[in-house]
Amino acid sequence: MPGFTATAWLCIVALYLPILVLIVFSFNENRSVVLWTGFSLDWYAKALENDGIRHAAWVSVKIALFATVISTIAATMAALATTRTKKFAGQGLVYGIINQPLMIPEIVTAIATLSLFALVKKITGLTGIGYLMLAHAAFCIPFAYMPIRARLETMTLTLEQAAADLYAPPLKVFTLVTLPLLGPGIVAGAMLAFVVSLDDVIITLMIAGPGETTLPIYILGAIRRGVTPEINAVSTILVAVSVLLVMLLFVVQRRMQR
């Protein structure tokens, strides 16, 4: 069908044109983001010198790393429980609903998390960045879970049986066969979780306390004071990081198919 190819390209243009414009003006020497005057890297230098941006980036990475580790471990265990253990009560329920938060509007999840944390804060009196980290870890679980379960489902049980047949006790079967073969799935899940945590806005906006500004929140705040190529530069760096991770994901998935 000839029209489909054109439509596909139109989709690509619609998706990437804004990003292209953003990237182009991050290299503008002028302060304008609509009028091109010449090439410069000044805005990148400025962005990297900006303490606010540096602090926000550090907070973002810290939270993303924590969320990635916790959610990937939880997702791996959940995926193993739904595909590798003997049937347990509620297994079908877990299997069916673990991905459902992806369908709930994020604003609802954000408000729900906020109310729960308010309750916990009232009871325990505890404050700090821990709440934000836990919130991120929680909403990253379904993202980490998907590729891990997909991998487990394509892995035949026979390999694990073969290991058991060759005198490997259950723990050795897991560490020597299941885990190494599951590796690409876990890496894919972790990267997905990392990206999702890194660019979350809505939940972070609700939960974050003072001094817990992540990069997307910082950008949002800066835009209110007017868009400058500095913001474009920071955004471009974020795009670059995402693209790099996606490329890595692609390579890992290629290895999975072998």
């Binding site: 390999l159 049986q161 073969a162 290991a163 058991a164 060759l166 005198y167 490997a168």
Partner: protein, 368 residues
């Protein structure tokens, strides 16, 4: 000496008693194995033969420990292993699709079992080298699984399962994925490997020719039950059940009435009135309607001056090099196949001609 007499002075490697396995529950329950009694002897090449769904693979998986029986028990050299997990059974398996570890080299795959048994590194290395030599893969030690051909993977699977020197080796249709020529070679290799190592082999297949070629003894299975156990000759020459007779090679089956028995011999009146004597074997019938069976190669064309046992109209002639099959339609509507060694005189044997056939009386069997 019959099969059962041999059995008495041989030690059982694997014994199954009243072994049953049911999958699912309630009205969806499927009985995969139904009260199986089985003794597989030391150093034996034993084959479980049957069509798909007959329970042969389930039986193998129960012996390996991948499934637990619903009823009954399994013993290894007289010791009960019914509840032992697979990693505590000195039994190794060659899987149908080999199940080689894709993230390990050939040598690592072969050494895996010994490593799990906690053998010293030097011994693992030595045994691995010996196994690589045994299956002629010395040059492949460092290769990954996706760099091997199907036949090579098959050998790695075999070497991996043999390396820990198991008491019993289970083989689940390991030759099914190979092409015909490779399969024939591997059949002979497996047979000599079994003789060399002295390990008890339990081989699962649906290929009757494969079973006859390789086995010391065969158990023919159907619908979760073992119908007959015996040497390839027992199974081929003295089938006890219609199913066994039919499943293994070609067979002529004729209906008749049992008139008289004398020891192992029975007089059977066929539908056209011809009386033949047949061996009873283990058949329990002493009167009434019975089926008798005879192999096509035990039926010959009647000579010119000879009285035929049966006469029929020649319908088709199938020539296949070493022999010719002549399909005769009897007056009763039954069909009988005569296998004539080599070609037949085409002038004399034309479709439509009336032909006489002689049944070798000592090779007619009464079926259960």
């Amino acid at each position: 000496m019959t099969g059962t007499e041999i059995a008495r002075d041989r030690k059982a490697a694997v014994s199954a008693r009243a072994l049953s396995k049911t999958f699912g529950q309630g009205e969806f329950a499927v009985t995969a194995l139904d009260s199986v009694e089985l003794d597989i002897f030391e150093n034996e090449f034993f084959t479980l033969l049957g069509p798909s769904g007959c329970g042969k693979t389930t039986l193998l998986r129960l012996i390996a420990g991948f499934e637990l029986p619903t009823h009954g028990s399994i013993a290894l050299q007289g010791q009960d292993i019914t509840d032992k997990p697979p990693h505590r059974r000195p039994i190794n398996t060659v899987f149908q699709n080999y199940a080689l570890f894709p993230h390990m080299t050939v040598a690592e795959n072969i050494g895996f079992g010994l490593r799990m048994l906690g053998k010293p590194a030097a011994e693992i290395r030595q045994t691995t080298e010996r196994m690589l030599a045994l299956v002629q893969l010395e040059a492949m030690a460092g290769r990954r699984m996706d760099q091997l051909s199907g036949g090579q993977q098959q050998r790695v699977a075999l070497a991996r399962a043999l390396a820990p020197a198991p008491k019993v080796l289970l083989l689940d249709e390991p030759l099914a994925a190979l092409d015909l020529k490779l399969r024939k070679n591997m059949q002979l290799e497996l047979k000599s490997l079994q003789a060399e190592t002295g390990i008890t082999f339990v081989f699962v297949t649906h290929d009757q020719e494969e079973a006859l070629t390789m086995s010391d003894r065969i158990a023919v299975m159907k619908s979760g039950k073992i119908l007959q156990t015996g040497t390839p000759r027992d199974i081929y020459d003295r089938p006890t059940h219609r199913f066994v007779a039919d499943f293994i090679g070609d067979i002529n089956i004729l209906e008749g009435t049992l008139e008289h028995t004398d020891g192992d011999l029975a007089r059977v009146r066929l539908k056209d009135g011809t009386r033949v004597s047949a061996h009873l074997g283990t058949a329990s019938a002493r009167s009434g309607e019975v089926s008798v069976a005879i192999r096509p190669e035990n039926v010959r064309l009647a000579g010119a001056a000879e009285a035929p046992t049966l006469t029929g109209v020649l319908e088709t002639i199938v020539y296949f090099g070493a022999a010719t099959n002549l399909h005769l339609r009897l007056g009763t509507g039954e069909e009988i196949v005569v296998r004539n060694p080599g070609a037949v005189d085409e002038g004399r044997y034309q479709p439509g001609a009336t032909i006489g056939a002689v049944l070798q009386p000592e090779l007619i069997r009464v079926l259960e």
